[in-house]
């Protein structure tokens, strides 16, 4: 399966989860299709928050008063930066920035914003991600740890306000995603499949007034076990990482 040039063989769709549940039950009419799908969405959001930690990178365009709109699957950000001269520079948080709240004839106003291209280099590493068809293995910002340009997150309006020193350009946002895109396709890592199916089964019996309590407890336990399996899988270090950790304390010293 591929989409936009991405190799999606390791991913499944939300609908696939619902079809699996229907198949488990041996019920093939689609009476409860949307009900189960909503549970699958909730379950996937839960897994993203507590186990999968799915990070996305979005490229956002700043408007005339220095704002960008957050993606619909945004939960929290990890880095916010801009691309300049082929490098990504992260920006700093400033909760004292004025936020645009006024409008004139539908046009937002922010007198305190005056975009100027004077960003100074500073920043951290970005995670690898897709941009369209292209896989970008890693974007390296400069190491360091302080920023000269700032932003403030306006969660109420789902926006980020930038300081005047941030050039009106493309903003690069690395964020923790709910995993569920409301406007595009949602793909679920294959390792999360069983946990998600178990979650939908658990919700199905939890809200079934005819289901006995032992059945509810059984499905809760099933989900807990699948969640733990997924958690172990997600946080299992690679052999290379273990060796790195082992050798971290080693130091070559001259033999005498």
């Amino acid at each position: 399966m591929s989409d936009d040039g991405r190799d999606l063989s390791g991913y499944i769709s939300l609908q696939n989860i619902v079809y699996n549940v229907m198949n488990d039950l041996g019920i093939y009419n689609k009476d409860n299709f949307k009900r189960y799908l909503q549970w699958a969405i909730r379950g996937f959001t839960q897994l993203n928050l507590y186990s999968l930690e799915s990070f996305n990178v979005a490229y956002l365009t700043m408007d005339e008063v220095g704002r960008v709109t957050l993606p619909d699957d945004f939960i929290d950000y990890t880095k916010i930066g801009i691309c300049k001269s082929g490098k990504i520079y992260t920006l700093g948080l400033n909760d004292d920035l004025c936020m645009s709240r006024s409008e004139e004839c539908g046009v937002p106003l922010n007198d305190s914003f005056n975009a100027a291209d004077d960003t100074l280099p500073a920043g951290y590493y970005f995670v690898s991600h897709f941009r369209g068809d292209n896989y970008i293995p890693a974007l390296y910002g400069l190491t360091g740890g302080f920023a000269e340009s700032y932003y403030r997150v306006d969660r109420k309006r789902g926006e980020i306000q930038f300081s005047s020193s941030v050039a009106r350009s493309e903003i690069i946002l690395e964020y923790l995603s709910s995993g569920v895109s409301l406007t595009g396709s949602t793909y679920i890592p294959r390792q999360a499949q069983e946990a998600l199916i178990a979650f939908v089964h658990y919700k199905r019996v939890e809200f079934d007034p005819m289901a006995p309590m032992n059945m509810k407890m059984f499905h809760k336990q099933e989900f807990d076990e699948e969640f733990n399996k997924l958690n172990s899988f997600e946080h299992m270090p690679t052999a290379q990482e273990i060796m790195d950790a082992l050798y971290k304390g080693y130091k070559a010293t001259p033999k005498r």
Partner: protein, 196 residues
Amino acid sequence: MKKEEIIEVVSANPKIKEGLTPQMVEKYVEFAFNQILFDTFKMAPSNMDIYRKTYKNIAIEKDEDTNTYYSMLPAPVAILPERSNGVRVQSMQGINTDFVPVEEDSMDVFDGLEVGQVDKTMGYIVRSDRVEYYNFDSSISSVKLKMVVPFSSYDYEEDINIPMGKDEQFIQLVITFLLNQNWIKDLSNDGNPKTT
């Protein structure tokens, strides 16, 4: 077995009183047929395909007043106790994944949840005379309907599927229905079993 054969078999039963018109017998055969269908559905809800008739090229119409897309039902529906009432809607070339049955009240709820934004599968609601569509793709001009229809909607020459092993029960059920009625000799040939 053809529909007319079923009526003949029932009418020929010695327990059936004389004077019953074929229309009266047909009506009670329909009651029994509904019961047999329901029992079959209870045993295997997913195994009703053989009882569904396919109606192709059912036109899509639009109610401009309510901005609702709909299709008129080509025949009455033998209502099964599921959300779709036993009706399957498919695109002409498609299979069962294009449309899902929904309840009218549930649409408001789904619209307020993520599923309403994430999933654009077309929904349908079966009413007494038509099927209404939600999230409808207006590029579709006709659909295919597969429906369980009542006994009266079959032609006399048409084969009717009675589940294996249910034949005797079916005939007995019709006779029981008929024997439980307090018949008045029907002298008027108006098709109404209660008028004399």
